[in-house]
């Protein structure tokens, strides 16, 4: 073959695509059972959430969301959450919204379970962080369409695969911000803990994690937002929920259903964002009140405490 020097880079010199395809094929043929096993925990949690959220009476779920929002952020947040969820309900998008919510919640649980320990370890070891950082960059920047196909081949289609795709996309912020939060703890606070005889474990649990908690929560909040942003993309591998309404609308040029799906995602995002942000407000900024002294729990607790005080 005569090389055309003029258009030298039109030739594929390094067949990256072929290699990837061959590797993937090999993995799928020989190790698919491993990936099927990985699915199991995701599947269990997702089914639990979905069963509860879609199975229970709509109004009950609505009330629970209101109470959680009130507890987390006070009356104002409860009002915002209540309005957003009411809008979803009135548009008739409640059922798919609950599916989307359960996917997001499942994803967040696994992101926290895996991301926070990774972040803690990254904060401890500079070398580990040096290796981890480019991987996180890659996870965040690579277009999600690219790994949609391998995920389908390894995990097949459906909501669980959707959770896994979303997990890959939404994991980085929680790792990053956990790492940042722990590194930002004032060194003399850690030194003081050591000076009073704390072990590394005690220092982590009693000093570093509580002080880093607002930053870690900011990371989780971002993770949640990214998970929600994935819902339309993941609907391409037949994930149900609000994303699928949008996709179906686009496919049929049905602007009505696409807009309802889109608005539903926005309302859900507003609700989750405000509630999860309120969880991240440190006790100092809430005027040092314990969580059980505010919100609906406080409404029960305060009279009880007063009664006990009077009994003394």
């Amino acid at each position: 073959m005569k090389t055309d020097l003029y258009n030298i880079f039109d030739t594929e010199w390094v067949p990256v695509g072929d290699w990837i395809e061959a590797t993937l094929k090999y993995v799928v043929e020989n190790f698919r059972y491993i990936f099927q096993a990985i699915k199991v925990p995701f599947d269990l949690v997702l089914r639990g959430f979905e069963g509860a959220l879609t199975g229970a009476p709509d109004l009950l779920i609505y009330a629970i969301i209101l109470l959680v929002a009130w507890q987390a952020g006070g009356r104002r947040i409860a009002l915002i959450a209540g309005a957003s969820m009411l809008a979803i309900g009135l548009m008739g998008a409640w059922e798919p919204a609950m599916t989307s919510l359960s996917i997001v919640l499942t994803c967040v649980i696994f992101c926290a379970l895996i991301g926070i320990p990774l972040g803690i370890y990254a904060a401890r070891s500079d070398r580990f962080w040096l290796i981890l950082r480019p991987i996180l960059d890659l996870m965040q920047t690579i277009p999600s369409f690219v790994y949609l196909v391998p995920v389908v081949m390894l995990f097949s289609i459906g909501n669980v695969s959707g959770v896994i795709v979303t997990f890959i996309y939404a994991l980085p912020p929680v790792v990053r911000l956990t790492n940042l939060g722990i590194r930002q703890v004032r060194p003399d606070m850690v030194e003081a803990a050591r000076a009073f005889g704390a072990s590394r474990r005690q220092t982590l649990l009693k000093i570093e994690l509580p002080l880093a908690a607002p930053t870690i929560m900011a990371g989780l909040n971002q993770t949640i937002m990214m998970a929600l942003a994935m819902s339309v993309v993941s609907s391409m591998i037949s994930v149900t929920g609000l994303g699928r309404m949008v996709l179906r609308g686009i496919g049929r040029l049905d602007m009505g259903i696409a807009t309802v799906g889109g608005l539903g995602i926005v309302c859900l995002a507003v609700m989750i964002d405000r509630v999860s942000q309120s969880f991240g407000v440190s006790a100092r900024d809430r005027g040092h009140r314990k969580w059980y002294e505010t919100g609906p729990v406080g409404a029960f607790y305060r009279p009880l405490a007063k009664f006990r005080h009077a009994a003394k």
Binding site: D188, A192, A195, G197, A198, R284
Partner: protein, 339 residues
């Protein structure tokens, strides 16, 4: 008589990857701080330091920032590991302790106070103060009692359930002190505890601490960059420069006989009036007649000057047994005052 509670012998700390090599080179060729840095890329933190602290005394380590005093004090509870040398605390070899022993030592025997308080903002004052007991898994009521006792000792009764950010700087440092006292340790390490406070509050806390100290009789290592503070506090003062102790002595010794120019520079502005004793400035009697005006040994310069106020007749110095040991003229007194 001598009962050292803390003793460091030939302590060295060199920071850097090649610290072992650097250590050997420094000992063989006695390199300076700069030579160590240039040849080995290592930083000399503490250089051949030896000192001992008697039970119950306040031992001040004074030096400018970067002189290695904070590094040195962190060797006593081994927040920093020495490169070589021995550390004895309450009869045990701290430099040879394992992790568990070390944690026990820190929790039970040594309390530490930090320059910037380092109180944990997410914990109440009681939880801050009782942290050392919490890591030892004492029961909550015991922790609470110890914390309240320590807070009361530093004048913070009734604040146990508040948070550090609700307090002023001076009060915060009293919490720092309460935290150090809560486990009733034998030893206190105080790393520039009052430097971050404004002068009035600093003075107040110094007095409060001295009061507390005479009551509790804790062996204390007190770090400061302020010689005035060191003189107010200390039974003995060690002056550090470039990682070395250049002089150890009582405040009077340091002020009247500075060992080198570095110390002399520090001592310049210090008032001698409450430091210099009569026997330091007297001249021997050598057959002269004892004068009717007398002063006992151990009296300070201010008492001497008071006696010269009505008339300028020389003073005779009397020792505790009642015999005359020397004489002070007005000239001696004035010379001592000028330094």
């Amino acid at each position: 008589m001598s009962d050292p509670q803390i003793e460091c012998r030939a302590l060295w700390k060199i920071y850097g990857k090649r610290q072992v090599e650097a250590m050997r080179a420094v000992q063989e060729r006695s390199l300076s701080k700069e030579e160590v840095r240039d040849e080995y890329g290592c930083v000399l933190g503490v250089r051949n330091v030896s000192f001992s602290v008697e039970r119950g005394e306040i031992f001040c380590i004074m030096g400018l920032s970067g002189s290695g005093k904070s590094t040195l004090v962190r060797h006593i509870n081994r927040l920093i590991d020495p490169t070589s040398g021995e550390i004895h605390v309450a009869g045990a070899r701290v430099d040879r302790m394992g992790e568990t022993e070390l944690r026990q030592l820190r929790a039970e025997k040594i309390g530490m106070v930090f320059q910037h308080m380092a109180l944990w903002p997410h914990r109440t004052l009681a939880e801050n103060a009782a942290f050392g007991l919490e890591v030892r898994d004492l029961s909550p009521p015991k922790r609470r009692a110890a914390a309240e006792k320590a807070l009361a000792a530093t004048g913070l009764e009734g604040w146990a359930d508040h948070y550090p950010d609700q307090l002023s700087g001076g009060m915060q440092q009293r919490v720092g002190l309460a935290r150090a006292l809560a486990a009733d340790p034998e030893i206190l390490l105080m790393d520039e505890p009052f430097s971050a406070l404004d002068p009035l509050i600093r003075r107040q806390l110094q007095d409060q601490f001295l009061d507390l100290s005479t009551k509790l009789k804790k062996t204390t290592v007190f770090i400061t960059h302020d010689l005035d503070e060191a003189i107010r506090m200390g039974g003995h003062i060690a002056i550090m420069n470039d990682g070395e102790i250049v002089q150890i002595g009582t405040p009077e010794e340091i002020v009247t006989r500075p060992s080198d120019d570095y110390v002399r520079e520090f001592v310049k502005g210090i008032s001698r009036i409450g430091l210099v004793r009569a026997e330091t400035i007297m001249t021997p009697l050598d057959g002269r007649q004892a004068t009717p005006k007398t002063i006992s040994t151990g009296s300070r310069l201010d008492a001497v000057i008071d006696l010269f106020l009505p008339d300028q007749q020389p003073l005779t110095v009397i020792d505790p047994l009642g015999s005359a040991v020397g004489q002070i003229t007005i000239t001696d007194a004035l010379r001592a005052l000028r330094g």
